[in-house]
Symmetry: C2
Subunit: 298 residues, 2 copies
């Protein structure tokens, strides 16, 4: 028996294979997998990265029967999506699937109650109650949700750049930088805006973070607004501010200094990543809970 965790919470897929005793056997990374590509294409991409991780072990996906696999992907928090995706499993054995937010929760807090906020291209909070049940806050996706995420930051910046371009507000160093990155000419910028994807917006978070580190006022303002959004998610999950809060994902170190004080006071370092969570779930006696981890209010 081997244990395999597959995590799609970041900008690319990550696979890790472990032996029964917990020793790491191999790992691989691949391109980002999104269910919006279609279920067949998403499975194909998962299989390719999994194959790469199995190759050094002399294993192939077609004969992978003696394995416990947990696959965590964004988008699996919609029950219909999760059922469809899981039903089309092309592997010979059973594969457990769960939303990436759930893997981040288990990786970050284990079984403890509290919240983990996954901050990457998107953003979502996963919380565990004292009774063990869980729920999500945020994570509604681009372009109306995922507040405070990398794509959300990029969206704000592109809107500000448009406003500078036609004189609704003055140019700033950060909007000039964005204009340059997206073509540096009116036609090129318009074309880029017309075809931009969530990933294109998310790619602007790195230059925003760099400018903020260099004390740029607008970049710091955007990160402060993102931090406020993250704080609003944390406050909704735990209005009494009593339970631990962990940030994970590529944007976590960028936004941690920008959280409001109530959230900062609850902040703990996560035990591990969403990939660690997927491996922990692979070793659990039962499959992860059904996709729906939503707290319905009102």
């Amino acid at each position: 028996m081997i244990f395999i965790g597959i995590d799609g919470s970041g900008p690319g897929l990550r696979v890790r294979v472990e032996a029964e005793d917990g020793v790491g056997l191999s790992s691989a990374t691949g391109p980002a997998v999104s269910l919006t590509l279609g279920t067949g294409k998403a499975w194909q991409m998962v299989l390719e990265t999994l194959s790469a991780a199995l190759k050094p072990l002399g294993q192939a996906t077609e004969t992978l029967t003696d394995a416990r696999i947990v696959l965590a992907l964004p988008g699996l928090n919609l029950p219909a999506q999760q059922q469809l995706f899981t039903a089309l499993n092309p592997l010979p054995g059973i594969i457990w699937t769960c939303p990436d937010s759930y893997a981040a929760l288990v990786g970050g807090l284990g079984d403890q109650p509290g919240s983990v906020i996954l901050l990457g291209a998107g953003s979502v909070l996963a919380a565990r109650r004292a009774d063990g049940t869980w729920y999500e806050i945020g994570g509604w996706g681009f372009p109306t949700g995922d507040e405070g995420s990398a794509a959300w930051l990029g969206q704000q910046l592109v809107t500000l750049t448009q406003r500078a371009l036609d004189g609704r507000q003055p140019w700033e160093p950060l909007t000039r930088l964005c204009y340059g990155l997206w073509g540096g000419a009116w036609d090129a910028f318009f074309e880029q805006v017309a075809t931009a994807t969530q990933a294109d917006y998310a790619a602007l978070a790195a230059p925003i973070a760099e400018m903020a580190a260099a004390e740029d006022a607008l970049a710091q303002l955007l990160l402060t607004e993102a931090g406020r959004e993250v704080g609003a998610m944390a406050a909704a999950a735990d209005p009494d501010a009593r339970l631990p809060l962990a940030l994970t994902g590529p944007l976590a170190p960028v936004l941690a200094p920008y959280l409001p004080p109530e959230a900062t006071a609850r902040l703990i370092a996560p035990e591990g990543t969403a990939l660690d969570g997927a491996l922990r779930l692979a070793r659990a006696p039962e499959p992860p809970p059904a996709a729906r981890g939503r707290r319905l209010v009102g």
Copy 2:
């Protein structure tokens, strides 16, 4: 010789055919045409609605040589798009094309200097300077631009509904209405959000306007914010607030009462619509100016 105006600025295509002496001969309406459908599909849809308008006259598009046609569509303000689209003209004669904002400017103000703001699913300001040249402000498109438009209003409301759904803010009558309109159940709402188009967001503007008319505070707040955005476009076009300003498009009557005072003071009734503008341009001796009507600032 007949004159034909074709206007795609609203929720559907509008065609009007006039005789030399200005008498209306026929008209037709069709589905909305967007260049994002692809150039071939967009032309096909234009031809279908044009055919419907020509039928009562015993004319067919294939033999339409003795006509002057102006076709105004959103998206034609990107020069590469306009060149590609115009080059693929399947009609036997010449057809002049222009951005819908330019047709709205000519329809609203004729040759006078001033600004016309086209308020529909999207939003864009077209302004004429005293020297006759023109430029646009806004109109960068969904989801980062088109501030104050119907799609923009719908976007704001969906974000607020998401926040209410997971407890980041209290429910309000308007967010409950939105939740009901978009499925009334968590899964259905999530699915609708995941697949929503600009038109889906724009369709929420009508219920927002109805609730505002019924004194709903949140609906009035959203319209006030939209009015402020429209005011920012007007102020950027004319910082000294000296030239006339006209609003046109389906959202114009909804937003007019919500403009800031500086914009209200400049407000005049438009002479006509974008369709009137297209017909006026069809009678002009020269084709409309090239697509690019952008004022580059800084």
